[in-house]
């Protein structure tokens, strides 16, 4: 749409005049800064970018991004973004959603967006709580969690968003952490390059209603023991000295001491594997940010994208039948003349 002049942006170009209204210390700030910085470094004119969100603290995001954007209704962002992506394959369309927005009220739209594989980049800010409505348990809250709406403990079994996305035929699935800006940006880059829907679960700290939910992965004492960094083509090991390794036993991923197994038995991570089973097995290592938990890209596989297929159908139809001719159309069922 624009000429080939390379646009050189700074982060400030992606900031808006709107006062950012998240609570001080909220993980959303760091994600916003990472995304704005990442966008500035992209060689993409900002008028080509659209952010669509639902409702929630996280969903205020588009107001703070100086691109095109819609702050829509609770849970429906993937549907609205799908319309944009199908109508305009030339745009870069991003969805920002929360664990309640994307996995509860909007769960249906999310899974269908994933299976269709449209050019959508979906950022799910998972703080394991309903922030905006002031602290009820969410579909990712751990079972037994005590909140305002679950004083005796939540009776719900949570979703594992990565497993869910893999099960929903997602072609790109990743997990990152708000505090790790570099990691977030790396994952965003890969997601952007991916053709089709990319799903990124971002562990996001809500310091008001669910503080330190991810401490096992971010705390100084625990993070080395728990954070499994997934690297394409590398054996899956972790710990200060790489002393833990992941092996596949009967299809299930298992953590073992690295020195207890032969090097060739350690899982080697392949993001491009056509079959998602190994990625799924990795996603089952933890159910929530507790104990050894993989972060990084689980899957990045190539599949045709929905909006390109639709576009091709239009091109094929025109090639076959010529451009739409209304006059012919209204006569297509036979006509007669009255004099």
């Amino acid at each position: 749409m624009t000429d080939t002049i390379t646009t050189k942006y700074t982060r400030a170009d992606f900031q808006t005049d709107q006062e950012v209204r998240w609570c001080p210390g909220c993980g959303d700030y760091t994600i916003l800064a990472a995304v704005q910085g990442f966008m500035a470094d992209l060689d993409l004119p900002k008028e080509q970018i659209v952010f669509v969100s639902g409702i929630g603290c996280s969903s205020r995001f588009p107001y703070y991004m100086n691109t095109y954007g819609i702050h829509s209704i609770h849970g429906r962002a993937p549907a609205i973004a799908s319309g944009i992506a199908v109508a305009r394959p030339d745009l870069s369309v991003w969805v920002v959603t929360g664990d309640g927005d994307g996995l509860s009220i909007g769960g249906n739209h999310l899974i269908h967006a994933l299976r269709r594989n449209m050019n959508l980049k979906i950022l799910l800010f998972n703080n394991q709580i309903y922030g905006l409505t002031k602290g009820q348990y969410s579909p990712t809250s751990e079972k037994g969690k005590r909140t305002k709406s679950s004083p005796a403990g939540s009776p719900d079994v949570p979703f594992n968003p990565v497993s869910l996305a893999l099960g929903a035929e997602a072609s790109f699935v990743a997990r990152t952490i708000d505090m790790d800006r570099k990691h977030t940006v790396d994952v965003l880059e890969k997601a952007y390059e991916h053709k089709g829907t990319a799903f990124i679960e971002i562990y996001q700290n809500c310091n008001v209603f669910n503080d330190k939910a991810f401490i096992e992965l971010t705390g100084k004492e625990t993070r080395l023991e728990n954070r499994i960094n997934l690297e394409h083509g590398q054996p899956v090991t972790f710990g200060a000295e790489g002393e833990h390794a992941v092996v596949l036993v009967d299809g299930a991923a298992k953590v073992v001491p690295t020195d207890s197994v032969a090097a060739e038995d350690i899982m080697v991570h392949d993001v491009h594997a056509p079959n998602p089973s190994a990625a799924f097995a990795l996603s089952r290592l933890s159910h929530g940010p507790y104990g050894p938990t993989p972060v990084g890209i689980f899957r990045d596989s190539v599949r045709s994208s929905y909006e390109q297929d639709v576009k091709q159908q239009l091109i094929d139809a025109q090639a076959k039948k010529g451009p739409g001719d209304l006059s012919k159309l209204i006569r297509s069922q036979g006509t007669w003349k009255v004099k």
Partner: protein, 626 residues
């Protein structure tokens, strides 16, 4: 006419009497697996090509295959053909084709006394009779004495006819609907050529099925020709319709074509986001066939997503449409409110069916009017339009798109099951005269070097449409209340009052941009019959009938249900009596009474069927006599 019969192998014997009649109402009825919709549609198409005026009423069960032979499994197709301008598919049938006892039982009440019954006699055996609840065979027990009954061994003759064609098993008897069609075509002097051509192209890939259907069709025709009982035949001359070129069209097809036309008239690509639902799905099916028009059909995971995707497409600069029926409209409600708040153009089609809940999915009702006007949270006004006939649906659709684009608003366009599936001749419009409904996208900042999304046109109060991809016009829209002009989130209470009023004024103001309500036969009438939607034909025809007796009655039909035409109050004020027939419990009546404080009377029916002309006629006579 003799030209047509001459093309058939057999020559008519000289003692065939041809009676000229001006109209006939035929109902094809059978099991839902008997192909009666197809027989009816083909007869209609043949009559249309022949030049008759016509109107149809398909009536089918909600289940795809209700138990065979039972009354719930009966499917019927009524068509009225005439040599003059008719408005409805007619009240009572003159001819009933009954493919089994259940079809006879379910439809006999609608056959006029003295009418003709063509019965597929072999189906009247013990089991079928029992399933239909007949203690004795009505073809034999004298209970049909008031009718002219023709017993035809359709199954045996069909089997005989298809013997050489290569069809086997269940396909053999499948063709019996074509036998029935052939016989009725003989009786009413219809040519077979168009149906033969249709079969040949439809079954081009299954030559034996094509051959069987054609053989059955001819066998039915020839059976009439050679059977003395059928030597009194009827002819209905072509109707004297206004000069022009015509096609036969259903409301759903006309709406789909209207959308394609609107897309061209708006110079915007069409986006149709939807989820399948009876009776709206055929709009999707029709549009999906015409991808060469650049239309993107999006079959979403549900109606919420269908509407949501359309809102996204509107934001992205497409002519965005979402179509559904009542249950789906309920699901779209929150998204439509969003579109009102974002002030994006969106056409929402509701092909109404009987509710509440799943209701009667294949039957007509006009019961979503109040829901369309008020079925949203908050103060959420939007324009509501209704098509009145199948052929009117084309123009009504373009008009809905015009209003949506010009006023940057969602518009609800109402149709119903009767309009959607019924067909009638449609005089093809002059496509060169289609209105230009395009609105330019904004390409430059509109306020001090920046874009403020809620700056309004002082006349229409519409905001300006800036689409992604336009440099310098990046902006965010949202469902939170917006500061006037600037569009930023605003919690200011006075601003909310102002924005609420602006959204309201914008819609009310459309009353100045729509045609005045026209009244038919105003002279000296004390009674106005006011309608909307698919009651049009019944109301006009009823008024015509009473006028023949020298009585005076005026009629008017609303296309615009919100806002009403500016002159509606004046019109209502001119009459002593106002009658509002509706296929609901009085929804327009409630609006008229509330807005104009007039004692409008209702005439309401919710049987899943359109009004009979005689029902409206009798009501008019009753009021005029009082």
């Amino acid at each position: 006419m003799s030209d047509d019969t001459a093309t058939l192998e057999a020559t008519p014997s000289p003692d065939i009497e041809i009676e000229e009649i001006d109209k006939v109402i035929i109902r094809f009825a059978g099991d839902s697996g008997d192909g009666m919709q197809l027989a009816g549609t083909r007869f209609t198409a043949d009559s249309a090509i022949f030049g008759n005026d016509l109107a149809t009423l398909p009536n089918f069960p909600a289940e795809i295959r209700a138990p065979a032979g039972t009354i719930p499994g009966v499917s019927s197709f009524q068509v009225q053909i005439a040599d003059f301008d008719i408005l409805t598919p007619g009240d009572e049938a003159d001819v009933l084709v009954a493919m089994n006892p259940a079809a006879l039982k379910a439809n006999l009440v609608d056959l006029r006394t003295g009418g003709m019954i063509i019965a597929n006699e072999e189906a009247f055996e013990e089991r079928n009779l029992a399933k239909a609840g007949f203690a004795a065979n009505p073809l034999e027990d004298g209970s049909l004495a008031g009718y002219r009954v023709f017993r035809v061994p359709m199954e045996r003759l069909t089997k005989e006819a298809v013997k050489e064609t290569g069809v086997t098993g269940r396909d053999v008897l499948r063709s019996k609907n074509f036998f029935a069609l052939g016989l009725v075509s003989w009786v009413f002097h219809r040519p077979l050529e168009t149906s033969i051509a249709w079969v040949e192209s439809k079954f081009a890939k299954r030559a034996e099925v094509a051959a069987a259907n054609i053989a059955s069709l001819r066998a039915g025709y020839n059976f009439g020709l050679t059977t003395e009982a059928f030597h009194h035949v009827y002819n209905i001359k072509p109707a004297k319709l206004a000069a022009g070129e015509y096609t036969n069209v259903t409301g759903n097809t006309a709406m789909a074509w209207g959308l394609l036309a609107a897309s061209q008239a708006a110079r915007l690509p069409l986006f149709y986001g939807t989820y399948p639902i009876t009776p709206a799905s055929d709009i999707l099916h029709e549009l999906a066939k015409h991808k060469n028009f650049g239309v993107r059909t999006f079959q979403a995971e549900d109606e919420i997503a269908g509407a949501g995707a359309a809102v996204g497409a509107a934001f992205a600069g497409h002519l965005a449409v979402t179509g559904t029926s009542g249950p789906g409209l309920a699901l779209k409600s929150e998204t439509i409110s969003l579109a009102i708040s974002l002030e994006l153009p969106l056409v929402v089609i509701d092909v109404q069916r009987a509710g509440p809940s799943t209701g009667l999915p294949t039957k007509v009702e006009q019961s979503d009017l109040l829901f369309s006007l008020y079925g949203r949270h908050g103060e959420a006004p939007l324009p509501v339009l209704a098509a009145r006939t199948a052929s009117d649906a084309f123009e009504a659709t373009i008009e809905a798109a015009r209003i949506a684009l010009k006023y940057m608003t969602p518009v609800i366009l109402l149709s119903d099951n009767y309009i959607a599936n019924g067909s009638e001749p449609w005089k093809l419009p002059d496509l060169d005269a289609l209105p230009d409904i395009s609105v330019p996208f904004l390409t430059e900042p509109n306020a001090d070097g920046r874009y403020v999304p809620y700056l309004r046109d002082p006349k229409t109060l519409a905001r300006q449409w800036a689409v992604p991809g336009t440099p310098g016009l990046e902006h965010r829209l949202g469902g939170l209340e917006k500061q006037e002009v600037v569009g930023n989130v605003s919690y200011d209470t006075n601003n909310h009052q102002l924005m609420t009023e602006l959204r309201d004024w914008k819609i009310r103001n459309i009353a100045n941009d729509i045609p005045a309500l026209e009244v038919d036969h105003d002279e000296g009438a004390e009674l106005l019959v006011l309608g909307w939607g698919s009651t049009f034909g019944a109301i006009r025809a009823a008024a015509k009938r009473v006028r023949k007796d020298g009585l005076s009655v005026a009629t008017a039909h609303l296309r615009y249900l919100n806002p009403f035409p500016a002159n509606l109050g004046d019109v209502l004020g001119r009459y002593r009596y106002i009658l509002i027939p509706e296929i609901n419990q009085g929804q327009l009546r409630k609006l008229i009474r509330a807005d104009f404080l007039v004692p409008a009377m209702g005439f309401n029916k919710v049987k899943g069927l359109p009004f009979h002309v005689s029902e409206v006629e009798n009501k008019i006579r009753e009021i005029l006599a009082s």
